[in-house]
Amino acid sequence: MRVRVLVSPKRGILDPQGQAVERALPALGFDGVSNVHVGRLIELDVDDPARVPAMCDALLTNPLIEDYEIVEDVSA
């Protein structure tokens, strides 16, 4: 199965990359944007999607500083 892991900076930890993007958007005329965060996307094909949370905790993310969301691609 195709699985996407969406990794984002843990809420409450300063995210300078998100802030830089948030400041850049109004400069291009895109107003009304807030709470921007920049994370990472990891895509993988796995035999057993039930093992993905353990992969996230062991390697794919650092739970101290990152949150993640697992999205299973049922169409793939």
Binding site: I13, L14, P16, Q17, A20, L59, L60, N62, L64, I65
Partner: protein, 217 residues
């Protein structure tokens, strides 16, 4: 006194670390794929970009065969020093608390920084008199220290010197047992008057004194 310096693919300060260690003792390189620590008295995880910093700095190096031996060595009380990328590796491996995030500036910083020795009673700082300030270069892109829990701080950036936005100006921390220490600045680059400061020597000298005191005991 024999130091072992771990060499990962992408390490780049391994030779400087070896030369620094050789100012106070013997030093050998330890290959990342070997489990044999060659009977060293202390381990140094050097700076660089192990495994290209892929995923997160230090995240992949943590799984190298040599790190299993280093973790066991640390559990038995052996001295382990992590410099820069080595600090990141030790945090990722859970041998030190916390994590290192991208600098607040989002830029690579490279400059001489002044460090306050907060704890001069560790095996890594005992050659420093209390309250001493060390002048040592820092060079990194991900050096912003963060820990959700209180930690044992060994070094802080002097007021106004914090180059990366580290929480509470933290530059170096130790584990609870005191035998594992990591710092972002590079003591191995400050061991010869030619490069402006010899303050980094006190870290390696402290380790030598600590190991020899243990052998004598």
């Amino acid at each position: 006194m024999k130091f072992g310096i771990v060499r990962f693919p992408g390490s780049c300060d391994d030779i400087d670390a070896q030369l620094a260690c050789e100012r106070v003792g013997e030093a050998v390189l330890l290959w990342h794929a070997d489990r044999d620590l060659q009977g060293v008295d202390a381990v140094v995880i050097p700076g660089g970009f192990s495994y290209g910093d892929y995923l997160r700095a230090g995240a992949i190096a943590r799984f190298a065969p040599v790190m299993e031996s280093v973790a066991e060595f640390a559990r038995e009380g052996g001295l382990v020093l992590g410099i820069c990328n080595g600090f990141q590796v030790l945090c990722e491996a859970g041998l030190l608390p916390g994590a290192l995030l991208p600098n607040v500036s989002l830029r690579f910083v490279f400059r001489q920084v002044r460090l306050e020795v907060v704890d001069s009673e560790t095996p890594f700082t005992r050659a420093c008199e209390p309250g001493r300030t060390l002048s040592i270069p820092a060079k990194h892109a991900s050096g912003r220290y963060f820990s959700p829990e209180p930690v044992d701080v060994v070094l802080r950036y002097a007021p106004g010197e914090n180059p990366n936005g580290s929480q509470d100006d933290i530059a170096g921390v130790r584990n609870a047992a005191g035998n594992v220490f990591g710092l972002m600045p590079h003591p191995e680059h400050a061991v010869d008057p030619l490069t402006g400061s010899v303050d980094g020597l006190s870290i390696f000298e402290s380790m030598r004194v600590s190991v020899e005191a243990r052998v004598a005991a």
